[in-house]
């Protein structure tokens, strides 16, 4: 990569020494005042609003990510920690519920952003900068949100597998084999499932600790399944949205090629036309000429 800024500025400065009158006042980008045109002034604020909301949503998604990481780390502690399992379990549950809450709230905000984007398209036209900005932010943020929720799902899945493995291992330690189907059945039946299991294990070589373990894991699995059921609708909503979107939505070329030439709004054009008319040299020098008479009709 070659930096050419210095070179350019040298050329520019040389020219200034040569023909200073062409440049007038120094224009400092950061301090310069911008001329206010009717069209631009209208659009600056909506763009700022969209970007502010987008920025805020993006921060929320980052926080969601952090919570998912916290959940993963906490789950990993099950295998290694000497802390009381019940406490660890409680942490996982509360973190996971927190994630679901955040997720739900984010989902609503994203839907609102999507609606806002749709309204902007209707009001300002789909080609205007503000509606394209809104659309791009909405699409990207939805994409990031989905990724965060998928990571959450992944964390729950891993925990589910880990729990199932531990139950089976504990069961085999006390001399009983539990198959996947049996485990499924147990979990589906919730608390009753545990009662059934503990009865069936009465005869086996019992170990209070192992039974405690199994009971704890079973309870956790049940809670996990409940959580996943609760978040199922959210995933379904997101999936429908993805299906409706074409894969082109995230494609840069499709975005660029799809935009049309900018046409300024009508009132600004008329303003300009009036300005040109006033400055028309024909008018200023020779008001009698027929060309001026034609222009009067403007």
């Amino acid at each position: 990569m070659r930096d050419m800024l210095q070179r350019l500025q040298t050329i520019s400065e040389e020219l200034e020494d040569y023909e200073p009158e062409l440049y007038g006042d120094e224009y400092d980008v950061d301090k310069g005042t911008l001329s206010q045109q009717a069209v631009m002034f209208e659009n600056t604020s909506p763009i700022d609003d969209i970007l502010k909301e987008a920025h805020s949503i993006s921060k929320e998604i980052s926080l969601l990510h952090l919570e998912v990481e916290r959940l993963t780390i906490n789950n990993e502690r099950f295998g290694t920690s000497v802390r009381r399992l019940t406490l660890l379990k409680k942490d996982s549950d509360s973190i996971a519920r927190g994630i679901q809450q955040r997720g739900g709230a984010l989902h609503i905000r994203l839907q609102a952003l999507g609606q806002e984007s749709g309204q902007l398209e209707e009001r300002e036209g789909p080609n205007s900068a503000v509606s394209r900005i809104a659309r791009a932010q909405h699409d990207t943020l939805s994409h990031l949100f989905r990724k965060a929720m998928n990571d959450y799902n992944e964390a729950e899945e891993m925990q589910r597998s880990a729990c199932r493995r531990r139950i089976k291992r504990q069961a085999s330690i006390i001399g009983t084999e539990i198959t996947d189907e049996q485990l499924d059945g147990m979990v589906d039946k919730g608390g009753e499932g545990w009662t059934e299991l503990s009865q069936s294990l009465q005869g086996a070589r019992s170990s209070r600790w192992a039974m405690c373990e199994i009971k704890g894991r079973h309870k956790e699995l049940v809670e996990l399944e409940v959580r996943l059921k609760e978040v199922h609708d959210l995933f379904l909503d997101m999936a429908v949205l993805v299906e409706e979107q074409s894969s082109k939505v995230n494609n840069i070329e499709a975005n660029v090629c799809g935009t049309q030439e900018y046409t300024e709004k009508i009132n600004v054009n008329v303003k300009r036309a009036l300005q040109y008319k006033r400055k028309n040299p024909c008018q200023q020098c020779c008001p009698c000429l027929p060309c001026w008479n034609q222009n009067r009709l403007l």
Binding site: M1, R2, D3, M4, L5, R7, L8, Q9, T10, I11, S12, L15, E26, Y27, V29, L34, S35, V39, M40, T44, I47, D48, L51, H55, S128, A129, R132, I133, A136, D139, T140, H143, M149, N150, E157, D180, H232, F235, L236, M238, A239, V240, V242, E243, E244, S246, S247, K248, V249, N250, N251, I252, E253, N255, V256, T259, Q260, E261, Y262, T263
Partner: protein
Amino acid sequence: QIWVCLKKVPEILNGVIKSVKKEGEWKVLIVDHMSMRILSSCCKMSDILAEGVTIVEDINKRREPISSLEAIYLISPVEKSVRALIDDFKDAAFTYKAAHIFFTDTCPDGLFAEIGRSRVAKVVKTLKEINVAFLPYESQVFSLDDPNSLYSFYSSKPNEGKEKMIETLAEQIATLCDTLKEYPAIRYRKYEKENARLADEVYQRLTAHKADNPTMGEGADKARSQLLIVDRGFDPISPILHELTFQAMAYDLLDIKQDIYSYQSTGIGNSNDREVLLDEDDELWVALRHMHIADVTKKVTELLQTFCQSKRMNTDNANIKDLSQMLKKMPQYQKELSMYSTHLHLAGACMKTYKASVDKLCEVEQDLAMGENEEGEPLKDAMKSIVPVLLDNEIKAYDKIRIILLYIFHMKKGIGEENLAKLIQHANIMADSNIINNLQNLGCNIIAGVDRKQRTESTYQLSRWVPIIKDVMENAIEDKLDRKQWPFISDPAPINTTQTAVSARFGHWHKNKSPTEYRSGPRLIIFVIGGLSHSEMRSAYEVTRATDGKWEVLIGSSHILTPTSFLNDLKSLDQVPNPDC
């Protein structure tokens, strides 16, 4: 010494945008046609939005002023784009607040001075040349995005733009080497004069780049890197054969435009239209694309079964294609499920088209291309095998032309005009017959005299043909490529074939990286003038794998072609260029 491969180019481009990112501030990104193609092949909207870009604009379209935001101009240093840039800051009211300019490659002095003289110089905060003027199409395939290249090189009509085009291509290839930090020895296939011309131009550009970037070619192994320039005419068979590997077959038989595969499938919503991008983000595509079609469906089905089992989803075989049930039960796996669905549909579509007409053609084609049947017996009466095909009205014109062309190549002494006319008549392809004549523009010689390698690996009967470039790749790597047929532009560094691949001075910093990231071995870069076929792309991967990672083979061209697009290109060779192109 950082190893740069084609896979890293997206990072480089992202890095460019990231370098001017300011927390809390958004920017407008402005591109021209070329830079948009490059960027789009590497990055997604979500990538650039993550680096602070909030809207992407086409520099050549009239744009809405957004004076509250600064603009990043990622453009090629050509007159049209530079004018548009200058225009943005011409009037009293600037279109954007400031400008960060990134040129895809070296900006000519004249244009540079113009920018210096304009008001842009007052608002510019960044100005760099990034030296990325090519598309990293795949991890080992690059494209220069010029589909008119075949016409430009081989048209029988006078073409004023040819010189300029050769310079542009050469510069693009030089930026490829610059980015990869390679300074390869340049060789070209002697037979065609354009090869030498381009090779020479590349050498000049490469040397100019090295003057600014001395790290190019640094490293003991890099001295062995080679860049080969070869013309399309050197292997006209590979682009017209019906291939039965997944990627080649799909692009040949189905209508895949801009790498997007469209199909219908019931889902959970109302929409049944699916559009899927076939690129390296799709891991399943990467795993399947070079596989023979017979293995593809089996493999995908296997993988889907495994996936469903691991997620404890009940699947009857009947339901595998019915995604909607699975999706309803487990919508969080939409990405994975739709990936499996896409490839099942794609493989199914290939097989359907194949069984409809292509299966009759493959055996004939392979026999003609190989000059022998599957038992290894030389073909005795080629005419007998092609006539039924030519007379068959169910077979499309272009498929018949492909057969005729293969027949002509098979007849090493050429084919008489009368016989050719008869064939064309039997086939009823008068309208497209100039394709056959135009092939001569490529200097297509008969393949007689080219020694093909004897290959012992077992292959499917209908996939016996091996692209000629694969022989060339292997020979180049083993330093067996004939120097008379493939001369060097300049005297190469002496090649010590006993050198081991990984340089000892690399130390330990690379130990945590995956093998592809720190490999420092030599590269073989191949540039085909006039278009690249999928089977040749596949060869690059196969040969690389066979070296066990010691060499990396990259292959590229002005564009990737399909048999249909190749025949279309040939068709237009004797026509006046379309002024809109």
